[in-house]
Amino acid sequence: MSEGTPGTAALVPPPEEPTLLGLHEMELNFGPQHPATHGVLRVVLKVDGERIVSARPDVGYLHRGTEKLFETETYPMVIPHTDRMDYVAAATNNHAYCLAVEKILGVEVPKRAQYIRVLLDEMQRVSSHLLWLATAAIDLGAITPFFYTFREREVILDLFEEYCGARLTLNCMRIGGLPVDLTPGWVERTQAFFETLEAKIDEYEDLLTENRIWKERTVGIGVLAADRCVAWGVTGPVLRAAGVAWDVRRALPYECYPELEFDIPVGKNADTYDRYLVRVAELRQSRRIALQCCDWLAKNPEGEIRGKVPRVIKPAAGMAYASVEAPKGELGFFLVSSGANKPYRLHVRAPSFVNLQSLPEMIRGHLVSDLVAVIGTYDIVLGEVDR
């Protein structure tokens, strides 16, 4: 095909611009088998030296067809499957799904169950943020916070195990309430744990917050301004670090959150460092909420834990959307019922998936090392991204 032929110009790809040394960009395949991609994320990079010209996230390596699977299960049977989406924060997944079904059924959850649910949510948030801190630090080369945060996370997992019998895939909520009541002494143990958490968070901050290397690696890295965050639909700590105080717990309150006192930490600079600060501040806020819940539960040791739910759940035809503030962002379940005992369609608005879409924009122009920091800063769980 000669160059001058009219009409064929569009078919010929434009010659690649030679870069600094007259060389072309190198394609670097980052993942899916890579220590820093938090599972099986694959990012195809075009790098000029170490500078990233373009990044294309390639998801789907952990796709299990969960949303289709939901359609074959009766309503209670869906709950264990939701555990396996964001597998480091199963309680919030259970919660969001149960809220959606309760909304379409019009069931009211007893007060005590609400408080226990909120307490479980906040414990899950703490454990998820601790895991995030551990992995984000290890991505940037600091191996030790991993072991310190896991020590605290272990206590939370033990408490979960004592309550519902599992440590990760909790299956700890039921439509209309909870499967079982708390074991004796559980509230006191939870309270004791959260009393000691503050000093531990100070320790993590001593290790990282002011450290010059940590700051150099995170300040100004992966900036995604507020308007771009909103345009991409980014939620959770990433959005709040951009200065938007959007938190589902306040914005679309559910359960007993209006009765609880807590602040929404927001950042200013929308960079990786602010996201770190926001998450650490959220640890402290979650601790505040959890202690309030423990107080309430200690004062009200008895009570219903399950609302009036029919034995066979067959909601009327219709739709419902319910969302919770999961550790990663707004986790929503959109439920379409055809009147059968199985959902007609159950769509999940997974925060990890939505947040991850902005990766190419966030990483453009940074170095390969920053890609690790930026992937870490999203706090993605591939189980939720791919579903």
């Binding site: 299960e73 209670p76 049977m77 869906v78 709950i79 264990p80 499957h81 555990d83 396996r84 030790t144 072991f147 310190y148 020590r151 033990d158 195990e161 004592e162 309550y163 519902c164 019998g165 599992a166 895939t169 299956n171 499967p179 079982v180 074991t183 320790e203 001593d206 290790l207 990282l208 002011e210 450290n211 010059r212």
Partner: protein
């Protein structure tokens, strides 16, 4: 952080201080095969079935989200001339189990006749098909199938009523 703080390397020393303080603390880990943490009372571990108490209602199989419980039964006249359900097959494909515990919750007998809440969690095997495919013999074989947890209080574990009689 002021320039003076940076020159004095305060941030560096703060971090070194945290790790140095941990140097003096005892290890938080346990040495697994010798010492092990005891699972909680509600821990979802290995399956147990009490065949005599089971009323063959198949609710556990119905409630199972991934359909790993297979139950076949037939009706038989017993000595008194009443129709009675007899189990032909009660299989549980443990290798696919996700330990949600819905089968246990669905069981209508009191006390329940299928348990997930045993303290056995060492389910690793060298081949996956036979060891983790539980038939009625394996499900009811209380000693060989489910090892009592070394430190567990035997009074708290599910008691096989068949043995009690």
């Amino acid at each position: 952080m002021s320039l003076l703080d940076r020159i004095l390397l305060l941030d560096i020393f703060a971090g070194l201080g945290v790790t140095a303080r941990h140097l003096a603390r005892p290890a938080d880990t346990v040495e697994y095969p010798e010492k092990a943490k005891e699972p909680s009372e509600r821990f979802r571990g290995m399956f147990l079935l009490d065949e005599e108490r089971c009323i063959k209602c198949t609710l556990c199989a119905i409630e199972c989200p991934i359909n790993i419980i297979y139950i076949d039964w037939h009706s038989e006249k017993n000595a008194e001339g009443k129709a009675e359900k007899k189990l032909d097959r009660f299989d549980l494909d443990m290798k696919r189990c996700m330990f949600c515990g819905l089968c246990e919750e669905a069981c209508p007998t009191n006390p329940r006749s299928i348990w997930l809440a045993t303290k056995t969690y060492e389910l690793g095997t060298y081949e996956r098909n036979e060891s983790l495919y539980l038939d009625i013999r394996k499900l009811t074989q209380w000693d060989g199938n489910v090892k009592p947890f070394p430190t567990a209080d035997p009074a708290k574990a599910p008691v096989n009523p068949a043995k009690e009689k």
